[in-house]
């Protein structure tokens, strides 16, 4: 097995393998609350809720991924994040996300809140990525 002090992370969306690499820690949000994964974590298979996923890379830089539903599994320092739709911070078009948010807010009264939530997650991720750079 690889270095026991490091996590191997893969972020997979339905359409493609989005990102693969090493990480010091991963923080994800499950229906029961936030969960932080450090190397040596016990095997977990958990659902994800719409939220930003935080990955800390070995050099200390932080990465954010917007995940829209899905699940993740942890097993012997391998973390697989499997989301139907996932976007890296740099792929998100902030203007478009804002427009979608405005539209979702306008429709929020009768529509379900998923579009709203999705837009909010996108903006959080994109905004946070900017402040990191």
């Amino acid at each position: 097995m690889a270095d026991p002090g490091i996590l191997e992370v893969a972020v997979v969306s339905a359409e493609r393998l989005l990102w693969q690499g090493e990480a010091k820690s991963v923080v994800a949000k499950t229906p029961e609350g936030e969960i932080g994964i450090l190397p040596g974590h016990e095997p977990v298979l958990s659902l994800l809720v719409e939220s930003p996923l935080r990955i800390e890379e070995p050099d200390g830089s932080k990465m954010l991924v917007a995940v829209h539903g899905g699940f993740f599994s942890v097993d012997s320092n391998k973390v697989n994040v499997i989301a139907e739709i996932a976007e890296l911070a740099e792929d998100i078009d902030l203007e478009r996300a804002k427009a979608a948010l405005a539209k979702a807010q306008a429709a929020a009264e009768d529509e379900d809140a998923s579009a709203l939530k999705r837009a909010e997650t996108r903006i959080t991720v994109a905004g946070a990525a900017k402040s990191l750079h």
Binding site: S13, E15, P43, L45, S46, F71, S73, E84
Partner: protein, 301 residues
């Protein structure tokens, strides 16, 4: 220029123009096959992960066979078919084959006493049904050459809703089949039928991952049942997505082949028309010469 020769020349020009179009379509289709295959490959990691997770959750959940998505209804009365055809024609027998297969399946299910609700993907299939005045429960068009996951999700959600029926679980369909065209290779595509619901439960407990290692003892959050509940619909959607992708690849392959033979035929046609045109030209020249010679003879006589 004689009238006959002019007609031939015009026809040659027109066939040449057609050939240019079919040649271009052939090239476009060739490049799209590759793209479609890449998309198919790119979606594979997701499927492997999903299958592993479903198997892991299923082996921990209590009584998987009673899950709504795996349980078979006692009486099989209603079935749904998802028929995947092309949006555009000029793809040889691609759509026709899929429709034929769908019709055969409909008859088959009908003989078993089931009523069939069609869901149709692609304009060709939709117009086939509409022309015959048959009702469709769902029609999806405009994406068959490049399906996205969002398209598959929309279809998957509709199918799942149809399977579940109303709030009391009444009125749902008992079986859902997909008719799609499997992409074997550039030369071969097969029309296939796959039942996606209810899910086939493998009785033996699967406790190894794909590479043969035993499943780790996962801690499930919130619970194995909840995880399974969330994963099974994703699995169905993924199945729909894969069917759409492989059908898209097949569509491009069928179109490429059809356009290749159209181009070949056009070349053949141009060749024979050129011969005829040459003949006509020669006949014209011969006639002119004999007219001149005849005229000169008449003068000197």
């Amino acid at each position: 220029m004689g009238a006959q020769l002019r007609v031939f020349r015009r026809r040659i020009r027109s066939v040449q123009a057609t050939k240019k179009i079919t040649k271009a379509m052939e090239l476009i289709a060739s490049s799209r096959i590759v793209k479609a295959q890449q998309r198919l490959d790119a979606s594979m990691p997701y499927l492997t992960q999903l299958v592993d997770a479903v198997s892991a959750a299923a082996s921990h959940a209590t009584d998987v066979s009673s899950h709504p998505l795996t349980a078979r209804a006692e009486k099989q009365e209603r079935a749904a078919i998802l028929l995947i055809t092309a949006d555009r024609g000029l793809a040889g027998a691609y759509s026709t084959n899929a429709i034929k297969e769908g019709e055969a399946l409909t008859r088959n299910l009908g003989e078993k006493g089931m009523s069939v609700t069609p869901y149709v993907v692609g304009r060709k299939g939709v117009s086939y049904y509409r022309f015959r005045g048959r009702e469709m429960a769902g029609e999806y068009t405009g994406f068959t050459d490049q399906p996205t996951y969002a398209d598959a999700k929309r279809i998957g959600e509709d199918l799942l809703a149809a399977f579940h029926g109303d709030e009391n679980g009444e009125g749902g369909v008992d079986e859902i089949h997909v008719v799609y065209t499997h992409f074997v290779n550039m030369g071969t595509q097969e029309t296939r039928v796959r039942r996606i619901l209810p899910l086939e439960v493998v009785d033996e407990v699967v406790d190894t991952t794909e590479d043969g290692n035993p499943f780790p003892l996962y801690e499930f959050e919130p619970s194995p049942e909840a995880v399974l509940d969330a994963l099974l619909p994703r699995y169905i959607e993924q199945m729909v997505y894969l069917s759409l992708l492989t059908s898209a690849a097949s569509e491009h392959a069928a179109r490429r082949r059809a356009m290749k033979s159209a181009t070949d035929n056009a070349e053949e046609l141009i060749r024979s028309l050129t011969r005829q045109a040459n003949q006509a030209r020669q006949a014209e020249i011969t006639q002119e010469i004999s007219e001149i010679v005849g005229g000169a003879d008449a003068l000197s006589a």
